[in-house]
Amino acid sequence: MKAKDNDLLLHDHNHDGIDRRGFLKCMAWAGTGAVCVLSGGVLKSYSLSRLSDLPSGHAKGDFSFVQISDSHMGFNKAANQDVVGTLNAAVQKINALSVAPQFLLHTGDISHLAKPEEFDAVDQILKSCVAKDVHYVPGEHDFIGDDGKLFLDRYGKNTKGSGWYSFDQKGVHFVGLVNVMNLKAGGLGSLGNEQLEWLESDVKHLSKSTPIVVFAHIPLWSVYPQWGWGTDDGAQALSYLKKFGSVTVLNGHIHQTMQKVEGNITFHTAASTAFPQPQPGQADSPGPMKVPAQQLRTLLGITDVNFIRGKHALAVVDSNLV
């Protein structure tokens, strides 16, 4: 189980009946392939093999999508000399899901050096995915050398500023944010005033029962600032989402799964499809972590997210590539 206990903050502010011990026990199972479903304020867990037992199955209006992240196409050092192979394995994993996802979210670092052939290679590999729509947000690697010009040329249609946007799918409001532009010396991820103002107005008129999914590359919450794992103005963005009953924040960047719940907001980071990184403070630096070959694919993965209408449930399931 990747998430550290002290990141699993759970305060019963909302008196919604979530039992802390039960939640932690549930989250412990999630690392081995379980689904934790919040249904009417009560958490239940189901092992991946018994997904058909889920409360409402896939009734009309329900849907699922998959988050992948940090494919780092072009990386070829010791930690993984076949990022093409592991991305293909991720696609195969997605294609083998019992219910095909509606679309993919790629939370950035698509490329390793923002080269055209790297973006091309990812596009080519994702063509064989059963989900044909992919929504992207950039990582800092995608902005190398040209402040994101190439990335925005390819993926920035209908986006604003450095590439932020929102869209709706079956009543769920999705917001893609960019926190890797104009990074300052000594700083963390950064959204900037223009994007924050846009976000505030984008969600202002939505009813508080609208489920919200925010996705951005660098974690919007402070995972480990010493390693740049956080966003300087992330808290301000989250303040605009306080009124909503269900907010899910999906991030990448740290190349490991981690989860935190704070009130109505569930934070989740995805594994990379390229290489793992050490847990906070467990190494000198947050660089690629070399592991024995047979262990590599257990530390890479995809995230399947199921929206089950009427149950206030957004079930987030990580699975590795083995």
Binding site: A79, L113, G186, W227, S285, G287
Partner: protein, 118 residues
Amino acid sequence: MKRKLELRITVFAIALLGLATIARVSTVHGQTATKSGSEVKIDNFTFAPQDLTVPAGTSVRWVNRDDIPHTVVSDDKTTFKSKALDTDDSFSYTFTKPGTYSYFCSIHPKMTAKVIVQ
């Protein structure tokens, strides 16, 4: 006979002079090379040394030994700005004016360091 000897001595002398000239140029070049050699090693998300003090006119060379790309960018983002340096790539900048030049990696902005030019 004597003329041939004179000729050989002359040719030999010219050759010696030529060699001496080359040697002097090499020595001068060697001295210049030693003076301009100041290197910063990038590894483990760190610039080493983090504080580098050099005399004005020094050309500083950064070499990336990490397994992840980094950049070398002055804090003001204009004084100097390298392209992305992958493993074993290098970047050089000549500091002509005295001052303190803070810089960082624009990909991983928590990586900061400075060059103090005296």
